[in-house]
């Protein structure tokens, strides 16, 4: 068991997500940066879907009442075990009675604490992910609070043999240097003028303070809609469409764009104009308020190739740790 002595700004239990329920309005939830979540699990010998603790902007402090192997991956956060600094992206041993204390993020926005055996909350619809909007899953459907006691699963065999094994530097993302987010434009992008579409990929976008697990609201060039007589049922505003489903990662344009993330609203009546590719949703999730980014237009084949390349990287990391 681990006890939360300080929860951080927003820490939740997440795995790779809850699927098959999007049609009833249930988003996947799950780790916002699945790459870092997966690598954390590899390091401690878990299945990649084991639940980790996702910490946003600031780490938490956790007291262990048993020996465990842990790994911290994702945004750079200085961390100590009983005041002794530890490395990130490395399997580390925590002993019973020790406290793991994780500080503020300096490169990226979200870090994942993987613990051998995983965080053992009750699965809901086959997932341990937290969906805070309606209070489902994870630890009591909410972000962690001081004093919460988290049960742990049985550690995988040989977990302690992994202590000290680390991810090679070449595989560790430098989140703050990634400022190009790849997008497959389309969906209802016929609603935007050509000039506006052009501006969307040439001018910078700034992450606003309104950026969370539901969506990242961006600020940038003025959007310009193609004037039309609104179709029946859509509503009167030029940004309105007949309510439709929103892909995870899609960019909706109520005026300034919102990119929908893991706790996405699953549908609605604002035009969507493109979708951030699956690999780059994780990179976008590592952006902090006020950071700048550009949208890069790619096609679906490029998007699949990027996904394949990331899976090869993950396979290489996994192999390097065996």
């Amino acid at each position: 068991m681990i006890t939360v002595s300080r929860p951080g700004v927003l820490s939740t239990v997440q795995d790779l997500g809850r699927f098959g329920q999007y049609h009833i309005g249930m988003p996947p939830s799950g780790a916002m940066d699945p790459f870092a979540h997966r690598v954390g699990n590899y390091l401690v010998g878990n299945d990649e879907d084991a639940a980790t603790i996702e910490m946003t902007y600031q780490g938490g402090a956790f007291e262990f009442d048993e020996d465990r192997v842990v790994a911290l991956c994702g945004a750079t956060m200085a961390a100590t075990i009983d005041d002794e600094p530890i490395n990130m992206w490395e399997a580390v041993s925590v002993e019973a009675g020790q406290t793991l204390d994780i500080q503020y993020a300096s490169n990226g926005a979200r870090s994942y604490l993987a613990v051998a055996g995983g965080i053992d909350v009750e699965p809901l619809m086959d997932s341990r992910s937290t969906y805070t909007l309606i209070g489902l899953g994870g630890y009591e459907g909410r972000s962690l609070e001081e004093g919460d006691e988290l049960a742990l699963g049985a550690p995988p065999e040989g977990a302690t043999d992994r202590i000290g094994s680390a991810v090679d530097d070449e595989y560790i993302p430098d989140y703050d240097s990634i400022d190009s987010i790849r997008v497959v434009f389309g969906l209802c992008d016929y609603r935007l003028t050509d000039a506006c579409k052009e501006r969307m990929t040439t001018e910078p976008w700034t992450v606003t303070p309104d950026a969370d697990r539901v969506g990242y609201r961006l600020e940038g060039p003025e959007l310009e809609f193609v004037e039309r007589e609104q179709p029946f049922g859509a509503g009167t505003d030029q940004s309105n469409v007949v309510d439709l489903g929103y892909p995870v990662g899609s960019i909706q344009v109520p005026q300034q764009p919102i990119v929908l993330m893991q706790d996405a609203v699953t549908g609605g009546g604002y035009a969507t104009v493109g979708t951030v590719i699956s690999v780059d949703r994780g990179y976008l999730a590592q952006k902090r308020t006020h950071q700048e980014l550009y949208f890069e237009s790619v096609n679906v084949d490029d998007a699949v190739a990027a996904r394949k390349a990331q899976q090869e990287t993950l396979a290489a990391i996994r192999k390097s740790l065996e």
């Binding site: 389309g186 179709p231 007949v242 990662g249 899609s250 699953t266 998007a303 699949v304």
Partner: protein
């Protein structure tokens, strides 16, 4: 006899949503033709249980799927959707669905308090949402407007936004359909179970939260029961399913309170009848068909 005017749908637009979604727009405008097509195709897709496709989401005039590109190539997904559409013939289509009694307390105190608090976000700050909508749609009074809203059943044409929120499209010819704009600026607050209207759709808000629809009333019934306490939520925490037919019924405060008491005690059972829905028969004589449906429900 009035009929539902049939719509010839344009060629569907197949659009990639990143590397893992395909969005299919059947029409830009809402129509029963577009919605039934979306329902028929997604029902077929579910039956086919295609390896790699793990989310199938019908919407009002479109649908969407999500898939694992490792298992099925995105271009193959589009080809598959096209061939399913090819095989789907609405004229031979019918489906088993439910008609549900849905009591609504129109002009309730809670949505009234909320809408008064957000007058500055509204097109017409000097009227209530009901007064504004009644006038815009050519009704002489709010009562007549409510009678129209509750006067014919509504079909659930999409579920989403948050778990359990149904979009409902009234089962009447287009010239009888209500259409209203959404708020100029969305509200930051809406009571749970509020019954709202935007575009051509009624929505029921499952939980308290932001919203932009015109507010007409509040239902005592739940659309989302995360603890699955109520008998009608035994199989899913979400009540409405696409294709369900909801028959809104105007109730008074006494009945509202009685139903709430039973809901909170976990004893309330929704009044539901099973029906086989035939698009062709509905298109030919919607009013007659609705009468038949409500007859099944109310005996």
């Amino acid at each position: 006899m009035s009929t539902i005017e049939r719509v010839t749908l344009p060629d569907p637009r197949y659009e990639f949503g990143g590397d893992d979604h395909v969005f299919v727009e059947l029409d830009e405008a809402m129509s029963f033709d577009a919605n039934f097509e979306a329902m028929a195709i997604t029902q077929q897709l579910r039956k086919k249980d295609i390896d790699g496709i793990f989310e199938i989401c019908p919407a009002n005039a479109s649908y969407m799927v999500r898939f694992e590109p490792e298992t099925i190539d995105p271009h193959t997904v589009v080809e598959t959707l096209k061939s399913v559409a090819e095989e789907t013939d609405l004229s031979e289509y019918q489906w088993d669905t439910r008609i549900v009694d849905f009591p609504v307390l129109y002009e309730d105190e809670w949505t009234h308090e909320t809408l008064m608090r957000f007058r500055d976000n509204h097109q017409d700050p000097d009227a209530t949402d009901l007064e504004y909508s009644a006038q815009l749609n050519g009704f002489d009074s709010v009562d007549e407007f409510i009678d129209a809203h509750a006067g014919a059943p509504h079909m659930v044409t999409m579920v989403g936004f948050v778990p359990g929120l149904p979009w409902c499209f009234q089962m009447v010819p287009k010239d009888e359909q209500i259409e209203v704009p959404k708020y100029v600026q969305p509200r930051t607050d809406t009571p749970s179970r509020a019954v709202g209207y935007g575009g051509a759709f009624t929505a029921i808000y499952p939980v308290q939260g932001a919203g932009g629809y015109q507010l007409y009333g509040r239902t005592p019934l739940e659309v989302l029961d995360t603890d699955q306490n109520l008998a009608d939520f035994a199989e899913s925490m979400v009540f409405p399913q696409p294709g369900d037919i909801l028959d809104f019924r105007r109730i008074d405060r006494t009945e509202y309170d009685e139903i709430r008491e039973q809901i909170e005690a976990g004893t309330y059972e929704y009044t539901i009848e099973s029906v086989s829905f035939s698009p062709e028969e509905f298109f030919a004589d919607p009013h007659g068909y609705n009468e038949m449906l409500t007859e099944v429900l109310r005996g």
